[in-house]
Amino acid sequence: MLPTFATSGEIILEDRFSIRHLRAPLVRGDLLVVESPLQRGQMVCKRLLGLPGDVICVDPTGERSPSTEHVKVPEGHVWISGDNAEWSRDSRDYGPVPIALVKGRIVARVWPPHKFTLYPSGSGVNFLT
């Protein structure tokens, strides 16, 4: 997630309640905390790229995945991707992720204080385009 978050030393505020209990909608571009489907208990932070039904180009660079074709994100799944594409292990490697593994949404960066940033839902769309 490099241009967005530093590799260490930052503290973020995570909202674990509204997605799971208030059925808050997932919005493209949001920063999500997801349990990695490859490792039980490991939390990863990724950006939400595709919602169920979206058609996604698996890997625009064509380096990671065996095909550059487009796939449709199946029902109940989301497509996630790291901001630092070269170093991120994300949906390009393990495919769409079940929504049940989405544990929360990042609301703000609270530390260090001079870098305090709010991430309102939907604001990440600018990053994608």
Binding site: L38, V58, S65, K72, P74, P96, P98, A100, L101
Partner: protein
Amino acid sequence: MWGALKSSRTARLWPILYWLPTGIVFASHWFELKAITGRSMQPTLNPNSSLWRDIGLFRRDVDIDAKYSREDIVTLRSPENHERLLIKRIVAKEGDTVRTLPPYPDAEVVIPKNHVWVEGDEHFWSDDSNRFGPISECLVESRLVMVVWPLSRFGAPNSKPTQSDKEYLAQTHKEQVRCSRVKQAKQPHSTQESSAESDSTWIPVYIRTLFECA
């Protein structure tokens, strides 16, 4: 008089309020009771002869290293709809080779790292891995420890002394068929072979079918 009544009511309420957080934490982290609906685990759970819906005691694993083993009955979040909770049996674990049943496109599948193959005992009534493929182990929420209701089948789910002969035979036959379809990995964990396997890119079945369509 009314004041006294009110205060006695609130006095009765206090212990409940006091223990409520403990109860919530206990149920969401250790053990909880759940009623089982549906026919997908027949004849093990909710058999036709039973008048009641089974109630089971489930253990959630707080311990991340806790591993589920084959033949465990588990609850899991449906990969297609995260609000649905399914109850299935783990048939195969990572590295195993499974001979699949009809809706699945491939005849045999090797279970990728950190994934499991889940199936209902009653194939006809069950939406399981034969439809959506191997699922990530993270979707598994809890394990069935014992059936607590009806009392005639009280006990661990795989002990069957109180069942009728017919059900017992059906169950053992299913178990034999199920086990014959799975070829277990030789050394399930920490071998060179398995680590080499985990490095290779794996595409889930739903993407693969889409590739084929495209």
